[in-house]
């Protein structure tokens, strides 16, 4: 409290203190910004803590991509068999499946918006 009284009596000193404080705050903010975007737990608020460890997270992402490609390949192959349009079904659906896999990965990573972006965000 004694400090407060002292600062109050000396306006110039208080100003320099505040300038120094705001400079430090800005530096801290910059450092946090540099860390912030790379920290996944900050960015994917829509999908709560499905990935508690890096291992689980990596596994999730890879399985999402593989699942998309597999489904695309499966549908393309089935269409080829049924309609006799080989190899066009496989070619087209493999590419579509790859796109779906990438979409899955981006959704899981929180880069792309969720399907239910319209409803208000839930709090975790």
């Amino acid at each position: 409290m004694a400090d407060n009284a002292h600062d109050g009596n000396d306006p110039t000193r208080r100003q320099t203190d505040e300038a120094a404080l705001s400079a430090r705050l800005r530096r801290l903010g910059d450092q946090l910004d540099r860390h912030g975007p790379s920290d996944p737990s900050e960015t994917d608020r829509g999908r709560p803590t499905a990935d508690a460890s890096g291992y689980a997270r990596g596994f999730r992402l890879s399985s999402e991509l593989v699942a998309g490609v597999l489904v695309g390949a499966g549908i393309g192959w089935a269409l080829d068999r049924v309609l006799g349009i080989s190899p066009w079904g496989l070619i087209i659906f493999l590419m579509l499946g790859f796109a779906a896999g990438v979409l899955n990965v981006m959704r899981t990573a929180g880069v792309a918006p969720e399907r239910d972006a319209g409803i208000p965000p839930r709090n975790n």
Binding site: A50, A52, S63, A67, V71, L96, G97, I119, R122
Partner: protein, 249 residues
């Protein structure tokens, strides 16, 4: 050397009957599924038998499990999601208990066979489809039509969204299955090193302490993975069920 994948062998105990030309057998997998269900039922029934205001140990476990799943559902779907509580809670407890039972040496891990996890994932998938069409009618198809997309790429996007939707049960089931399979194989391989080195005499015993320590550490990790994968399966179930209730964008 001990065969690291011998532990996943399905053994027929006795045959129950025939459907077409397929034998319906009671296997060790079925036995351990029964054990998981029995343990869960015993825990829940035992905990709620003598209900008290200040809970005892059993009641605390049951209440913790209930609160955990209920909070997950409320956070992911909202209050309206509690109608799915029986399904989600059963899935969570079944996977958690069967994973924990499977960690005990000589026991069989049910979730290490993809047919089991695929059946669970398809159950969720079909529930999402049925509930989605029942609650929203044809508006359920809005799930595949994102807003704010130019009309000329819309057909392509719809195709990709449909494929993305169809790929859900695959990634849903493969994740649980592969985690359990890989974890148990790793454990077996490192435990096998212990016996192999132990056969080499004194120097081997010294060397064997290293994989032994690793086996202990891996067991702890597997305990975490067993819980985490049950949780991940549950939360993904909630996220998918949320689409059934709110397919709009």
């Amino acid at each position: 050397m001990a065969d690291p994948i011998h532990q996943f062998q399905v053994i027929n105990y006795f045959t129950l009957g025939k459907v077409g030309s397929t034998n319906i057998a009671f296997t060790n997998s079925a036995l351990y599924m029964g054990i998981a269900v029995g343990l869960t039922a015993a825990l829940m029934l035992g905990a709620t038998a003598g209900r008290q205001l200040v809970p005892g140990r059993m009641q605390s476990i049951a209440e913790l499990a209930y609160e955990f799943v209920a909070d997950t559902i409320r956070n992911t779907i909202g209050e309206g999601g509690m109608q799915f509580f029986p399904l989600v809670f059963s899935l969570f407890m079944f996977i958690l208990v069967s994973n924990m039972v499977g960690l005990i040496p000589y026991n069989f891990t049910v979730a290490s066979h993809i047919i089991v996890t695929a059946a669970l994932a398809l159950l969720v998938f079909v529930t999402v489809l049925v509930c989605g069409f029942w609650k929203n009618g044809l508006h359920f198809f809005n799930l595949f039509v994102p807003k704010g997309i130019p009309w000329f790429v819309l057909p392509l996007i719809v195709f990709i969204e449909v494929l993305s939707f169809l790929s859900r049960p695959i990634s849903h089931s493969v994740r649980l299955f592969a985690n359990m399979l890989a974890g148990h194989i790793t454990l077996k391989v490192f435990a096998g090193f212990v016996t192999m080195l132990g056969g080499l005499g004194f120097a081997g015993w010294l060397g064997a302490t290293l994989p032994l320590a690793l086996t202990v550490a891996l067991t702890a990790l597997e305990l975490l993975v067993a819980f985490l994968q049950a949780y991940v399966f549950t939360i993904l179930t909630c996220i998918y069920l949320n689409d059934a209730l709110h397919p709009g964008h």
